[in-house]
């Protein structure tokens, strides 16, 4: 498969040629093979997983466990270390609930960062509130475009239980330098949880190699269907944590002898069709020669950035003008145009067939730090092309004409 024909794999984009989809950070479009895999499950293998004897259910079981292997290959870990959740949010809640239950008491503290999506912020905020632990929020240095230097060392102590940090900001595309943070947190005896919701669509997660204790991502931002998330945990943590949900398929014996992970954390019927779709999505990415596609994506991101910065009245808050090449290639860019409310801007762009997102992007702590209530965001996927830069360029011109400087 050649990168230039990638769009053709996506039926929605193929049918709506005029559509310029720049909202992959919200959810990616789905390739035909993924839609087919979901369909095929219901056509050929529909039956409930686990505890079945007949052939169909054996098939369904095999499909789900094959998917777990594919995901483990993607994440660089063992299949048993992969828990299927509903999404990233459920994964974060599972961790915050379990860690809160087992490890947090009044007088402890946990650290989250100001660049987190609410999914990796609110669960920790609530865990802190329930236990009486202190929530410490690592500030973002908006001039340097990264987390405040030296803050972690000053705030980590022997009562720090968790460091929860994103692998890529869903607003600025910033990637925190994780290895030194992980080392410092571990030295203090804290667990490290990373949010790979955005980063996993732009390169394989290396969770085990990275040395995090737990991490998660979601299938629908990874060209898979909605309804399936991925949670990784070290064996020790998986053994220790209690389940968030209890119910069918997760108990060895009553009252509470839980099955080992991953079953312990997968109570109830999973979305097997979505899991099959995610399996197919990862296979699709490998078949594309993903690494090569990602290189193209970086060049495209730079083109978008250059085009945006050439516009009058346009700012990219929280991202310094002088960027290292790697940072300049971030596949997510949030901007503002002076004199045009982000909602009006997104609406004019929509009228030109350009799909972008406007608002606080579920990242209020970061938006507050930037002093903004809303920003307009573009985010890239494997199907974007240089012609999309031109389309956005022309649509922005139209918006600036409609809303001239007052």
């Amino acid at each position: 498969m050649k990168a230039s024909t990638i769009k053709d794999h996506f039926p929605l984009l193929r049918r709506q040629r005029r559509l310029v989809y720049l909202d992959s950070a919200a959810t990616t479009q789905k390739p035909a093979c993924v839609i087919k895999a979901v369909n095929d499950f219901y056509l050929n293998a529909n039956s409930n997983v686990r505890r079945g004897i007949y052939e169909l259910t054996v098939k369904a079981d095999a499909l789900m466990e094959r998917a777990r292997l594919t995901v483990a290959g993607f994440a660089g870990c063992e299949a048993e270390q992969i828990v299927f959740t509903k999404n990233s949010t459920e994964a974060a809640n599972l961790l915050a609930y379990g860690i809160g239950q087992n490890r947090l008491t009044a007088g402890d503290n946990l650290i989250v960062t100001e660049v987190e999506h609410h999914a990796n912020y609110l669960p920790w905020q609530e865990a802190a509130r329930r236990s009486g632990a202190e929530l410490r929020v690592w500030p973002f240095d908006k001039d340097k475009g990264r987390l405040e230097e030296g803050w972690l060392e000053r705030n980590l102590n022997e009562r720090t239980r968790v460091l929860a940090v994103t692998e890529m900001s869903n607003v600025t595309g910033y990637r925190p330098d994780l290895p030194p943070m992980i080392e410092a947190a571990h030295r203090a005896g804290a667990l490290v949880v990373t949010d790979g919701s955005q980063s996993s669509a732009h390169g394989r997660p290396e969770w085990r190699e990275l040395g995090v204790d737990a991490a998660f991502c979601t299938g629908h931002k990874l060209y898979g269907p909605m309804g399936v998330g991925v949670l990784y945990m070290t064996e020790e943590l998986a053994k220790e944590l209690p389940p968030l949900l209890t119910g069918g398929g997760m108990v060895a014996d009553l009252p509470n002898q839980w099955l080992p992970a991953p079953m312990k954390f997968e109570a109830g019927t999973p979305d097997v069709a979505a899991i099959c779709g995610l399996d197919e999505a990862l296979r699709f990415l490998y078949a594309l020669d993903w690494d090569q596609v990602l290189e193209k994506e970086k060049k495209l991101a730079q083109l978008f950035r250059e085009m945006l910065l050439s516009k009058p009245r346009l700012n990219i808050p929280g991202v310094p003008a002088q960027l290292a090449p790697a940072e300049a290639a971030a596949p997510i860019i949030s901007f503002e145009v002076e004199g045009i409310h982000p909602h009006d801007l997104a609406e004019v762009l929509a009228g030109e067939g350009v799909c972008v997102r406007a608002g606080h992007h579920c990242a209020k702590p970061l938006l507050n730090r930037l002093g903004k209530t809303a920003l307009t965001r573009i985010s890239l996927g494997v199907y974007n092309e240089p012609s999309d830069v031109e389309a956005l360029d022309a649509a922005l011109d139209r918006a600036q004409k409609l809303f001239p400087c007052l």
Partner: protein, 125 residues
């Protein structure tokens, strides 16, 4: 139809009655924290419950500013009781453009704020 037609853009660029009344009888503020839109309205009423004057100040997108301006223009001379019963469709009709579900809140921010002020006025009546 283009949502940013002449009427909307005109009322956004030159909002009518865009000045708070000094010492107004009634005042209310409303905001949409999700997108940062904010509006304050003031109005005066006479002893018969008729609006005699209106003024507002707002900070927001074109749709929210234009809809408040369009609605505000229609208020003087109308009865409090009648306005309290005004359906939101009337505001959307004033805008005269198709409003997508995602923008309904913007279009109705001024309306809900004016309702707040009217309810305050009614209580005191």
């Amino acid at each position: 139809m283009d949502i940013y037609g002449e009427i909307v853009l005109d009322h956004f660029r030159h909002p009518r009655k865009a000045k708070l009344l000094e010492g107004a009888d009634w005042q209310a503020t409303d905001s949409n924290p999700l997108c940062g839109d904010r509006v304050t309205v003031t109005l005066n009423t006479d002893q018969n419950g008729i609006i005699t004057d209106f003024g507002f100040e707002g900070d927001g997108c074109a749709i929210s500013v234009a809809s408040t301006s369009l609605l505000g223009e229609k208020l003087p001379g109308r009865k409090l009781d009648e306005l309290l019963k005004m359906p939101k469709e009337e505001v959307l009709d004033l805008l005269g453009i198709p409003i997508s579900p995602g923008r309904i809140k913007c279009a109705l921010l001024g309306y809900s704020c004016i309702k707040k002020a009217l309810i305050n006025a009614k209580r005191k009546e």
